[in-house]
């Protein structure tokens, strides 16, 4: 599902960052581990097509995304990749339901409301969908992040330090939710983290150095 070869990124000033080749099969759940500054976020951004690599190839489900033109790359990202960010990012002027569907809407895709409500039920946040982002707690927002990542029926979900601002209870709840849901929907999961609370649940890990 996720396959990379010879990935490298050049920074201004001649500094280069190279990455190990990845090979992640469909439905697998991986951790991307490493200290700050080892390129976890950068790798995730390369995988999601946000950042074009200086060298190498990225293939997501048979599509070599670094060869796609920008507009198709945007579309591909909207339809195949779910992103969960370190901070809870939402469009502050629209309610949670619209935040869940905004990407789909603007990408011109059909919206199946019952399916979305089923998803929010599974996450226990259906009662909150008419609230505005600032009315929710951190934990609630993070669960909406999961919902938003899953709304598109993505092939993969990439999460960047999703638990760094969560307490133990919320963290456990988050880990349980996301692993269960990804299993259920057969979604490949890659979580970049330095949080050791994940270790028990994940067999596969990539260590960046």
């Amino acid at each position: 599902m996720i396959y990379t070869k010879g990935l490298a990124i050049n920074y201004k000033g001649g500094k280069q960052l190279t990455f190990k080749d990845l090979h992640i099969d469909r439905g697998q759940q991986w951790l991307l581990k490493g200290h700050s500054g080892t390129g976890k976020t950068t790798l995730l951004h390369i995988l999601s097509g946000i950042l074009p690599p200086s060298a190498g190839i990225v293939s997501i489900g048979d599509v070599i995304i670094n060869e796609l033109p920008q507009s198709q790359l945007d579309k591909f990202r909207a339809s195949s990749i779910g992103l969960i960010f370190q901070k809870n990012l939402f469009v502050s002027s629209i309610n949670m339901y619209n935040n869940l569907v905004i990407g789909k809407k603007l990408a011109g895709q059909q919206i199946d409301k019952t399916k979305i409500l089923k998803l929010t039920d599974e996450l226990g946040i259906s009662a909150l969908i008419n609230k505005m982002p600032y009315q929710l707690s951190q934990g609630e927002q993070q669960r909406f992040s999961i919902a938003r990542a899953l709304v598109n029926d993505p092939k993969i979900i990439l999460a960047d330090e999703p638990t760094s601002s969560l307490d133990d209870t919320n963290c456990e709840r988050f880990i349980n939710s996301i692993t269960t849901l990804c299993n259920k929907h057969n979604v490949t999961l890659l979580i970049a983290t330095h949080d050791n609370r994940f270790n028990e649940q994940f067999q596969n890990a990539i260590q960046l150095a």
Binding site: I50, D74, K75, F85, Q86, L106
Partner: protein
């Protein structure tokens, strides 16, 4: 696209105060320009309409602008009278197609009583809304506004007041009768009381006779002239009143006595001089004698039946414009003025004022445009992370560009729309409070307002341009990393 607009509107709604302020700033500037355009357009249209194709106005010597103002726009006092004989010569000139006489003198409650022929009403395509045209002497037809404000009806009778102010000497012995009321047609005729030239002659001539009679006893020609003189100048009611007074209240005998009484006064300049020294009031006769004594020159005056105030002239061919006015101005005691030229002169004088105010309004909308720009940049700085988020969620660069563009356009277009509405409300309100303005109903869009729309779109796009470029080039990776 609809979704982008919805998102833009939601985003604007979250900062209602900022958004409203930007729109209101933009609205104020554009409303001022818009109202000005309506004023100017309206004034020009009204005046051109009032000219009604009149090629030339002939009247007594004086200011050509005054002549045109007084006998075409009815906004000033006449320059004087011209003799019917001279007017007839113009009428018979081969280059003249048609002439319409104008005889002014009196008013009723501030509305001018205009003696003319039936052709005058035809100039403005005036239609009767009730009653009949005035076919006989002392019959009048009222303009719509006159009827509305004076509440006169068909069949009502009234007397005129001398001059053009609604207070003054009234011609009580001459009663006008209303035979018809005109439809409102937005021209000067709405504020006129139309009658025949003969009616004006009758009112002033009749009185002239009594005066003349008196003066004949005195044997003074100058007196009759002086009497006549007063008819055409405002504010010399002492004489008239003294005439009326003797005539009405004291009866014939007393009247002749008063005239008799005048004789010794006339004969002794010394007594008049004594009166002057003692600051006592002089009668008009005494005044004219005193003037004569002091060596003032009094002009020969015309009998009312021989005079009209002005003559409206229509040329047979454009060639007349080059020859006729010059001929009249050089060879006769009359003057010729072109309404079109005088109107242009007037507008160019007023134009300076219009230009200044318009300049101010443009400065206002220039700064409101800058305000809009600052507003947009501020927003972007706050919302760049949201744009990065949307981009990460798969929204294309073009869509993020459109999102910002819709922000700018929504602000600018609501500003324009609001200014159009404000302008309409302002015009209706002003018309309601000021009689001089008569914007009828909701005004249609002027060409200038379409230009304002183009300007608004331009400003909206420009205000969005810099933020949009910034958003377009946003490095999402860099931005997300910073969060």
């Amino acid at each position: 696209m609809r979704d982008i607009l919805q998102l833009a509107i939601s985003q604007l709604k979250t900062k209602p105060f900022n958004t409203t302020l930007s729109i209101v700033m933009f609205t104020i500037g554009m409303s001022i320009i818009s109202v000005l355009m309506h004023f100017e357009n309206h004034a020009q249209q009204r005046m051109e309409n009032d000219i009604a194709g009149i090629d030339m106005v002939i009247g007594a010597k004086g200011s050509p602008l005054q002549l045109v103002l007084s006998s075409v726009f009815h906004a000033d006092n006449p320059t004087g009278n011209i003799s019917l004989q001279d007017a007839d010569k113009v009428k018979k000139h081969p280059l003249v197609k048609k002439t319409v006489p104008i005889a002014l003198g009196d008013n009723y409650k501030g509305y001018r009583i205009l003696g003319s022929s039936n052709e005058y009403a035809q100039l403005y395509n005036a239609q009767l809304s009730e009653g009949q045209w005035n076919n006989k002497v002392m019959e009048v037809v009222l303009g719509a506004k006159v009827a509305y404000h004076t509440e006169l009806k068909v069949g009502d009778e009234f007397t005129g007041v001398h001059g053009f102010m609604d207070v003054g000497h009234s011609h009580d012995e001459h009663v006008y009768r209303v035979t018809g009321i005109l439809h409102e047609n937005g021209s000067v005729i709405d504020k006129m009381i139309l009658t025949r030239v003969e009616s004006v002659w009758a009112v002033h001539g009749g009185r002239h006779d009594t005066c003349d009679h008196e003066h004949h006893e005195d044997g003074g020609h100058q007196h009759s002239e002086n009497c006549q003189h007063e008819h055409h100048e405002d504010g010399e009611h002492q004489h008239n009143e003294s005439c009326q007074h003797t005539h009405h209240e004291d009866g014939e005998h007393q009247h002749s006595e008063s005239c008799q009484h005048a004789h010794p006064v006339n004969n002794s300049i010394e007594s008049i001089i004594k009166k002057v020294e003692n600051n006592k009031e002089l009668t008009a006769q005494e005044m004219s004698l005193y003037n004569e004594y002091r060596g003032h020159i009094s002009e020969k005056q015309l009998a009312p039946e021989e005079a009209i105030t002005a003559l409206l002239v229509f040329y047979k061919s454009p060639m007349a414009a080059t020859t006729l006015p010059r001929m009249i101005n050089q060879n006769t005691s009359m003057q010729a003025a072109s309404p079109a030229i005088e109107l242009n002169r007037l507008m160019s004088m007023l134009g300076v004022g219009f230009t200044t105010i318009r300049l101010l309004a443009w400065i206002i909308i220039f700064f409101s445009a800058i305000n809009l720009l600052i507003h947009m940049l501020n927003r972007l700085n706050q919302e760049l992370n949201e744009i990065a988020l949307l981009r990460a969620l798969g929204i294309s660069r073009l869509q993020s560009l459109l999102l910002l563009l819709s922000h700018g356009l929504i602000l600018a277009l609501s500003g324009w729309l609001l200014s159009i509405i404000t302008t309409r409300i302002a015009l209706v309100t002003l018309t309601h409070y000021f009689e001089q303005m008569d914007f009828q109903g909701i005004q249609p869009l002027l060409a200038g307002e379409y230009y304002l729309l183009v300007y608004a779109i331009g400003i909206g796009a420009l205000a969005a341009f810099i933020p949009a470029i910034k958003a377009y080039n946003t490095n999402i990776h860099f931005l997300l990393n910073k969060l």
